[in-house]
Assembly symmetry: C2
Homo-oligomer: 342 residues x 2
């Protein structure tokens, strides 16, 4: 049995659900993979808790469901404690960085936490896009220099192993073009609009379903899809794409009449992220596109995200996921962990 | 630069195309992965050739395209030489076993060649279903005992990494059910029948496209799909399924009227291979099923194969491939090789 001491930064939708997942699967993971995952430290926006003897994931999840902070954890909670201070001082083998994406503040505090963890010899798994978008190459070089592993399969398309598929299973091939529908809420909203739901009501329904980011423009203007595209292209095409390289068109560019006309001819609008190799580089775009049913991503339902790789020797390979809850996105950290340790 | 000396058994559709692929990609593979793949021995049904200095893949492919045997290879060809004798005597690091599936003769000579290669310390990659269907566990135990790797990603659904996806990316999850459309020609024939093409003409067209096995019953009666299902279930579910455990229904069970009615309501018949966990085991079936467009595999075109994994924590994950030529199936051996050595 190998014990893995880990820190968890961010106890929102993903962090909390990872705690629930771990509480449920702990015994089985020990039996099946010989790994005992021990949560020794955690942080949310209000504070931290640290205990070398371990925090109870089920209790942490319960606290968060009830609206408390990790800082309230009996005995070891630290109101006002910072995530970075926790990473700098805790003894751990692994950091799970699951704080919300925050590009406007330089992807902090996630980026600093990841750097600090790697310098202290911790492996890192993160579903947080921010640090990878801003510092993809730097973080990979740092991981190599520190002799640790960096995994981020959950940054793109939730629980779909889009990155691993592209990085591992397409070796030997040239990916000539990739297309992805990596964002759920934009497809959902366009479907509602095409059915005659008015804009404000569509947004309201998306919000009620909890699928819209607090800052709606992040989704609606294609920033989320663009960030995911940048990570995919760096990881799979090995091309140093940056967010500002993406030609980005948001939902506002398509009219309700166009959405309805597409629906009537059996097509579905989706916010399509696309990367094509062109002379000397890669052309990157995010825009609403009416996908016919013959398109590999043209049949995605409202809870489905997917990616297509067009290759020279493996034909076209498509993968998509149906994610009815945020559990698969949280589970991406478990995939990363098993990839690192098992 | 690492040199990998390999043997190639079987120079039909897959073996020959692998030679073409290698001729084309050789320099790039050396540069990109630091691997120099040197074909030192090859066998077809008429003989063998062996040269420690290497055979030229482009020349081997040309011989086969022109209807010659590898036994005609200048200087080192051995008419009547056997594949097994080659494996028993050659110095090599890797066996590619690409001979045609042959279950009626105990998957020979492939099975013996694989056993012999592993005992002699060679890694093995094979797209040949026979040996895996007959001796999945034995071959895995032998590989462990010999300290070599056995890869067989090409046995199921051609160039789609169906097995790797299930084995690697779904770790931590329970696969509760899997569904696959792993055979191209049956879907093609049912599509033609549904369009009013008569049975004999549909078969003729399938034959002309080169997608029907010499023994048509292998495809039409579902044996091919059943064999692939058995391998998938062994590999991904870890359940020791055997061919005789599969409840198998061939194309003859569905009438043209049913095919046409399905087409009219927008559904597509496909030969669906399915494994469901039930109390104390796994229920395995292969049968023609009318898939609605809402089914994850309900939109597969005539050149597309796919698989769906229904899991506890990763939702439902679907992957499919569009294979317009046999190149992706041949390329599955390159995927295996990079998995073993890179």
């Amino acid at each position: 049995m190998r014990e893995i001491r880990f820190l968890l930064i961010g106890l929102g939708n993903l962090g909390r659900r990872f705690c629930e997942l771990l509480a449920e699967k702990d015994a089985w993971l020990q039996e099946r993979y010989g790994l005992a995952l021990r949560l020794v430290g955690a942080a949310d926006s209000r504070g931290t808790a640290y205990s070398p003897d371990g925090l109870r994931p089920a209790l942490v999840a319960q606290f968060k469901r009830e609206g408390h902070s990790i800082a309230d954890y009996p005995g070891v909670g630290q109101p006002g404690g910072s995530a970075l201070a926790l990473v700098m001082s805790a003894e751990a083998d692994l950091l799970l960085e699951a704080s919300p994406v925050n590009l406007s503040q330089g992807a902090e505090p996630g980026l600093s936490c990841i750097r600090a963890a790697m310098r202290r010899g911790m492996h890192v798994s993160t579903p947080n896009k921010g640090p990878l978008v801003i510092a993809f190459r730097e973080l990979h070089e740092l991981a190599d220099a520190c002799g640790v592993k960096l995994r981020f399969d959950g940054t793109v398309a939730g629980g779909l192993p889009a990155i691993n598929l592209g990085q591992r299973e397409l070796r030997g091939a040239i990916v000539e073009c990739l297309e992805a529908v990596p964002n759920l809420v934009t497809g959902y909203i366009m479907d509602l609009l095409s059915e005659g739901v008015v804009w404000d009501a569509a947004l309201e329904r998306a919000r009620n379903e909890g699928v819209l980011e607090a800052d709606a423009s992040w989704d609606l203007e294609g920033w989320d899809a663009a960030a995911k595209l940048v990570i995919l292209v760096n990881a799979v095409l090995g091309y140093p794409a940056r967010l500002e390289d993406v030609e980005r068109t948001g939902l506002a560019a398509v009219s309700v009449a166009e959405l309805q006309a597409a629906r009537e001819r059996g097509s579905r609008y989706r916010l399509l992220a696309k990367a094509e190799r062109v002379d000397g580089g890669v052309r990157l775009s995010v825009q609403p596109v009416a996908l016919t049913r013959d398109h590999p991503l043209g049949n995605l339902g409202r809870k489905q995200m997917g990616v297509v790789y067009h290759t020279d020797i493996f034909g076209s390979i498509t993968a998509f996921i149906e994610e009815l809850t945020p559990v698969p996105s949280a589970a991406s950290m478990l995939r990363d962990i098993l990839d690192i340790f098992a």
